[in-house]
Amino acid sequence: MNSYYIKRTLRSVVTLWIVVTLTFGMIRLLPGGPLVQLRAQLIRQGVDPSEINGIIESYQNLRPDQPLYIQYFDYVSSLLTGDLGESIRYGEPVAALVGDALPWTVFVMVTATVIMYALGILWGAVMAYKEGSTFDTVSSALSILFSTVPFYVFAIFLVIIFGYQLEWFPTRGRTSVGAQNPYTLGFVIDVVRHAVLPIMSIIVTQVGLQALAMRGNSIQLLGEDYVRVARLRGLADGRIATRYVGRNAILPMYTGFLTLIGFNIGGSVILEEVFTYPGIGYYMFKALEGRDYPLMMAVFLVITSVLVVALFVADLTYSKIDPRVQTGDSSEAY
């Protein structure tokens, strides 16, 4: 069992390393890739050619004139010291920008995904319990309907209606302008108000599918022998619903939960643009827009690493909730 943990950790580390290498490859080797563009930009800006290499080095942590493997080494070593290069657009070290923005994105996305899953599971369970009823039919239809909109499109809709037209919620920013003290209740409320619309975009557009998945799992489980035996043993309906049906219905959805967090963090690029919410996705968007390669690649790296860690956590903890699983291969059934 322990060897499994070691292997899994090793695999994550290897994955991270591959991602780093991939990023390096993209920066350095893609035709028309970041370095080439950066160089072209600098030339266009009229920078003295002799200085270009130096500038590139400071932005991207590479010395372009050195052999490839030295460049690679430079890159990786600076990463390990936490140096992610310098943003062209903002003129600041990327690490600082990321450090400031990442927690906000994680806050919004994780909160949203957690609430969405909780609601989806509850809803799906009730739908399964009342299977065939009007509630179930209507719920199923609504679930499908809500899922026809990608969350960023729904976000646009929310901003227009609730932000601009009704003015119930702010339309941009993480906090109001001038908000300073993070320890007052007012600040907390302010933060929450700014986060409501983004979070709602995610919850409304993703809850439907999760509810349907939960419903499907639960219905299948109701036909299981152990549910029938549990009834015969005289257990209370409530206990059967939670410990027998619910507990087992969640299993296939667990890994999906963590991957979804990762996916949503990736999708923050669009969401934060709509809300002008300075999280990590927003910076990524700005970097893409302005061809700010150092920032772009660094954010890419950070987001990927977060996902690798999320998957790692998922795999390791899955065996905690499903005792049948010994090596960590999750029950992939939908």
Binding site: D225, R228, A230, L232, R233, G234, L235, R239, R243, D322
Partner: protein, 349 residues
């Protein structure tokens, strides 16, 4: 067929689907004698599982169970099982009448330890937890399991035989009077099957249980049961003490069933499967349901449903030709019988 001290009295029990369109249990009347081991034998789809479920009024939706099933406890008044309300059923099930299904693995919640199953059952019936668990320990030991180890394991960590035994212990933890077992050994290897039979016999003696053992495997249950009831096409066709069944089965189906069991002593051609297949509930033949496959079938069989006829003490068979059955359908192990029979000259005892 009535007995002296029945623990269960079942009369005209039927289970129908589709508003009486199809029967999966057809007018079954049976008494279960206290402290006996009754074997119910039938092919797949003969309705035997339905019969088991009916004893606990646990026929799955949308089946409709009708008739009269009376439970007679050791002390206290009779209980009409079909009239029980929900709390009544809760007091009956598992406390008085308990059940073990086929496939022990799927009867346990895979995400719960075995011990938790015991605890929650005890608590759901408002019994004292400590004495309940003591009883559980004792039962597990009787079944040759290590109580601590089994209780702290998850179901999938136990072998098939261990799971089945744990399930039997779970079904007995509230000290029921009657245990109904539906194919409890089907998924196990032969050696384990035999061991469990022996264990069941021991349990029955120690705890004064009545047992109903339902299976398709006639020779298996013959080693354990006191009486046997044979089912065909959702009806009972023969009921008799085991010895009677093995030596003097009077129903053609029973005899054919006995002949179809692989037997080391018979030659290859003497072992015959029964031609044809058993009918589906929507497509029952008229008259005696067995007549399409029966070598003794006559016009009467095609039109009239046979009633139970008494062929010997405590032995009934539902056939129009019970007297001919013995002569016209020889058993392929008759030589063995002649050697084994108690009577000195080999005649009927």
């Amino acid at each position: 067929m009535a007995t002296d001290d029945p623990i269960i009295r079942m009369r005209n029990a039927s289970v129908t689907y589709d508003h009486g369109e199809s029967y999966v249990l057809d007018d079954v009347s049976l008494d279960v004698e206290r402290n006996e081991i009754l074997g119910i034998v039938g092919e797949s789809g003969s309705g035997k599982s339905m019969l088991a479920s009916a004893m606990l009024d646990a026929v799955p939706d949308p089946g409709l169970l009708e008739g009269s099933i009376t439970y007679v406890p050791e002390s206290g008044s009779k209980v009409d099982i079909l009239e029980l309300d929900k709390p009544g059923l809760r007091s009956l099930r598992w406390e008085e009448v308990s059940m073990v299904f086929q496939g022990a693995m799927s009867s346990f919640n895979p995400t719960m330890e075995v011990g938790d199953h015991f605890r929650e059952t005890i608590q759901a019936h408002d019994m004292d937890l400590e004495s309940g668990m003591d009883r559980a320990h004792e039962l597990l030991e009787d079944l040759y399991l290590e109580p601590e180890r089994v209780l702290n394991s998850y179901p999938h960590e136990l072998s098939g035989g261990m799971q089945q035994r744990a399930l039997i212990a779970l079904s007995l933890v509230l000290d029921p009077e009657l245990l109904v077992m539906d194919e409890p050994t089907a998924a196990l290897d032969l050696l384990m099957q035999r061991s469990i039979l022996i264990l069941l016999r021991e349990l029955q003696e120690k705890y004064d249980l009545t047992m109903i053992f339902i299976t398709h495997d006639l020779p298996l249950v013959a080693a354990l049961a006191d009486r046997m009831a044979i089912m065909y096409a959702f009806k009972l066709v023969e009921i008799a003490p085991t010895r009677e069944i093995v030596e003097h089965a009077s129903h053609p189906y029973t005899r054919a069933l006995l002949n179809s069991t692989p037997n080391l002593d018979a030659s290859l051609e003497e072992m015959q499967p029964i031609e044809g297949s058993s009918p589906a509930p929507i497509n029952l033949p008229g008259g005696c349901a067995y007549h399409p496959r029966c070598p003794l079938a006559t016009e009467e069989c095609r039109t009239t449903v046979p009633e139970f006829e008494r062929t010997a003490d405590g032995h009934v068979a539902a056939c129009h030709h019970t007297d001919e059955a013995v002569d016209r359908i020889p058993l392929n192990y008759e030589e063995l019988l002649r050697e084994d029979t108690l009577g000195p000259d080999g005649d009927r005892a």
